[in-house]
């Protein structure tokens, strides 16, 4: 046995019950294990226990009859922006080497060696980490983890905050690590991991192990559970599309949003340019493009938060200021927490109504609480909600009036499958009522299945605008207009 724990009992301060009650798990040498389960089931906690981080680095009260913990472990966490303590790439790997007390004169060669292992090649590794893409940052995290020369590798949702491109990058990097390496993985998007692991451990929401076997067995017996837990498994999209009856023939209503010669500036340089746009009622626009191409800038320009030139009209009304924009365009930020300004879910939804002196605040808010499935948490502080609930609340706070357009910046980013589908269905309901949905997304499945139109942005310019038929993967019938 390489790592393991017998009869683990663990409880978080303030939690009503034990997170783990008499949980046992043993990992053999060179085994690759995947932990699966719903959010909050404690799989990351168990990973941290086995990695020796709990209770040493993260004090959580726990007890176990027997525990085998490896002396040399390496962990990769999910947040690419919260793993590094140094500003430059070479310094970050050097930090690990310093911790291992490697003599200084060997460091430069080793830094190069460990960077090569993850395919990060710089002529001079003295590169600012903040200039790397999120995927490259995670590869750097893997590189510095390998620099520990660990016996057991722990991966705690390493791709949760990456786009599909970055996700593939990470898994192909990890698959290049030696075959006999022992690995424990927690992951929600398992498309690329399933054929790589030897064993899957499935947890239920109470933190109990309900299955522990090879991937095929787990999938044939527990598919329904995996689905219920919101895990992104390979066929989840197909199944979802089969069940939801999405209208294929989109009825496009009258023109609502029209834009001519829009330019959004950051400083003196235009960050985004869109020569001509016209969107009609009931359209669902997906904005795609590389990181930093200017997708979010387009949304911010429409809202007039950035300095803009050109003309924006919504329902024949000219949008000149943020104030004009707010009454016509609802905007949902990528980080929902930034949008919350009160201390309870109810007040959050009522805030904008009270500002426009709406007489039926209570009635309307209660209606929304039901439609966003938030009535059971209406008195909680917005920060106490789960990620899915936070997202739905942020949509609710944005759509306070009768705005005809909903702008969303990567609303499904980092969400599990259940939450994603719930959100998409919410947007589809709104769209069917005639609302225009304009969302930035990296998810091709959303583009192919839900969107009725796609805008592609490249280097700050809207380069393609095409209508899509909702036909699903691979068959995206497009016509450039």
């Amino acid at each position: 046995m390489k790592v393991g724990v017998s009869n683990l009992r663990l409880k978080f301060a303030g939690a009503p019950s034990l997170q783990f009650e008499d949980l046992s798990l043993h990992v053999k040498e060179s085994e690759k294990i995947l932990f699966l389960g719903p959010s909050g089931c404690g799989k990351s906690t168990l990973l941290q226990v086995l990695a020796g981080l709990i209770p040493n680095a993260v004090p959580v009260p726990m007890k176990a009859d027997d525990m085998v913990i490896c002396e040399s472990t390496g962990v990769v966490f999910q947040d690419p922006d919260a793993q590094f303590c140094m500003p430059y790439v070479d310094e970050e790997i050097a930090f690990v080497l310093e911790n291992r007390a490697v003599p200084q004169h060997e460091m430069n060669d080793l830094i190069q060696y460990y960077l090569d292992k993850v395919g990060l090649s710089f002529q001079d590794p003295h590169v600012e980490i903040s200039t790397l893409s999120q995927g490259m940052k995670q590869r750097l995290a893997i590189s510095s983890m390998i620099a520990l020369e660990p016996e057991v590798i722990f991966l705690d949702e390493p791709t949760a905050l990456l786009d599909p491109e970055g996700t593939s990058e990470i898994w192909s990097t990890i698959k290049q690590i030696e075959a006999k390496q022992t690995m424990i993985i927690v992951e929600h998007k398992i498309d690329e991991v399933v054929d790589f692991v030897d064993r899957i451990v499935l947890f239920n929401s109470e933190g109990k192990i309900i299955a522990d076997s090879d991937p095929n067995t787990v999938f044939s017996f527990y598919k329904h559970k995996i689905r219920e837990f919101g895990i992104w498994y390979p066929e989840v999209w197909d199944e979802h599309i089969k069940e939801t009856d999405l209208p294929k023939d989109i009825v496009r209503g009258k023109e609502v949003l029209s834009v001519t010669n829009l330019k959004g500036y950051r400083g003196k340089h235009p960050k985004i340019q869109a020569p001509e746009i016209s969107v009609c009622e009931g359209e669902w626009v997906a904005i795609t493009g590389k990181n930093g191409a200017g997708k979010s800038s387009l949304l911010l320009s429409l809202m007039n938060v950035m300095k803009t030139s050109g003309e924006i009209k919504v329902s024949n009304q000219l949008i000149k200021t943020v104030h004009d924009a707010r009454s016509q365009l609802a905007f949902v930020f990528q980080n929902p927490e930034f949008q919350f300004i009160t201390h309870s879910v109810y007040k959050e939804l009522a805030y904008s109504l009270e500002m426009i002196n709406d007489p039926n605040v209570d009635e309307k808010v209660n209606g929304w609480l039901t439609s966003y499935q938030l009535e059971h948490v209406k008195l909680l502080h917005p920060y106490q909600l789960s990620t899915g609930q936070k997202r739905r609340l942020s949509v609710g706070t944005a759509l306070f009036g009768s705005q005809p357009v909903l702008l969303l910046d990567e609303p499904t980013f980092g969400q599990d499958a259940q939450n994603t589908f719930k959100l998409l269905q919410l947007f589809e309901e709104l769209r069917a009522k005639g609302l225009i949905i304009i969302m930035v997304t990296h998810d091709e499945k959303i583009v192919n299945n839900y969107a009725t139109r796609q805008w592609i942005i490249e280097k700050g310019l809207l380069v393609a605008d095409r209508n899509l038929e909702r036909v699903g993967e691979g068959k995206a019938y497009a016509m450039d207009s």
Binding site: A51, F77, C85, D90, F95, N99, L300, M303, F338
Partner: protein, 265 residues
């Protein structure tokens, strides 16, 4: 978005950072004991020359950065000049009362403030925090756990700035109504501080765990950077000593202000 300045490395960058820090602190202390406005005016030339010609930053950037310090100079000098006490009245108008003593004292305080500012700016523009902390650990025996925590904290700052911009845009879009009077201050603090702090605290916690996962502890460690002393430290020492020496000598021998000690009544 870019938060760092581009610059060329010069010899001032290659000074030993810990030496630089201690030496600058000593200079600060010395400045407090100079009471002759002639001398302190002359001394200003010493950091000013270095700042203008040896930091490797663009002149435009330097001038912009120095603007607030000029304001500091004028505000601290003028308030002492206008409202300070003295017996030889030069000009009086309402509350404003300029005397010979207050004028020189004002000038002196202005130059002292300017000197502090210039030295501080010189230090900040020519010292990378990472080198400073490595040097503090190795030369001044600062415990690594503090030094590395500071380095991690420095990394969070630009992220916080970016989050601040996002937050401002979000609040603008939500259309938060600004309250009036003192309530506006408390409103601003809660609106900004709560989300920014909650993000930062969580991020700091994650970084701390990640650092421990990389086996950062109190055991013996080696260092990637080994700041040493070089001929540049000697050069800097010579430059400042000679510069200050000349400033003292010229100030004593060829005074251009009547007052030679601002403390005298």
């Amino acid at each position: 978005m870019q938060w760092t300045l581009n610059y060329e490395e010069t010899w001032v960058h290659r000074l030993n950072p810990a030496f630089k820090l201690v030496f600058f602190l000593l200079l600060f202390l010395l400045l407090l004991f100079i009471h002759n406005p002639n001398i302190i005016t002359n001394i200003t030339v010493v950091p000013l020359l270095l700042l203008l010609f040896s930091t490797g930053h663009q002149k435009k950037v330097l001038l912009i950065l120095m603007l607030p310090f000029l304001l500091l100079f004028f505000s601290s000098a003028s308030s002492m000049m206008f409202f300070g006490q003295g017996s030889t009245t030069w000009w009086k108008w309402g509350l404003i009362h300029i005397t010979e003593e207050s004028f020189y004292r004002g000038l002196h305080i202005g130059f002292r403030a300017l000197n502090f500012a210039l030295l501080g700016l010189l230090f900040a523009l020519t010292t990378r925090p990472v080198y400073l902390f490595y040097s503090l650990i190795q030369q001044l025996k600062v415990p690594p756990r503090f030094a590395y925590s500071f380095m991690a904290a420095v990394r969070i700052l630009p992220v916080m700035l970016e989050e601040f911009q996002q937050l401002r845009a979000a609040l603008l879009i939500r259309g938060v109504k600004k309250k009036k009077g003192y309530r506006r201050i408390t409103q601003t603090i809660t609106l900004y501080a709560v989300p920014l702090l909650s993000q930062s605290i969580r991020r700091a916690h994650r970084i701390a765990v990640a650092m421990e996962a990389k086996r950062f502890n109190n055991n013996k460690r080696t260092y990637y950077y080994k700041p040493t002393f070089s001929k540049f430290d000697l050069l800097f020492l010579l430059y400042t000593t000679i510069g200050f020496g000349v400033a003292f000598w010229v100030g004593d021998t060829f005074p251009y202000f009547d007052s030679t000690d601002v403390r005298q009544k």
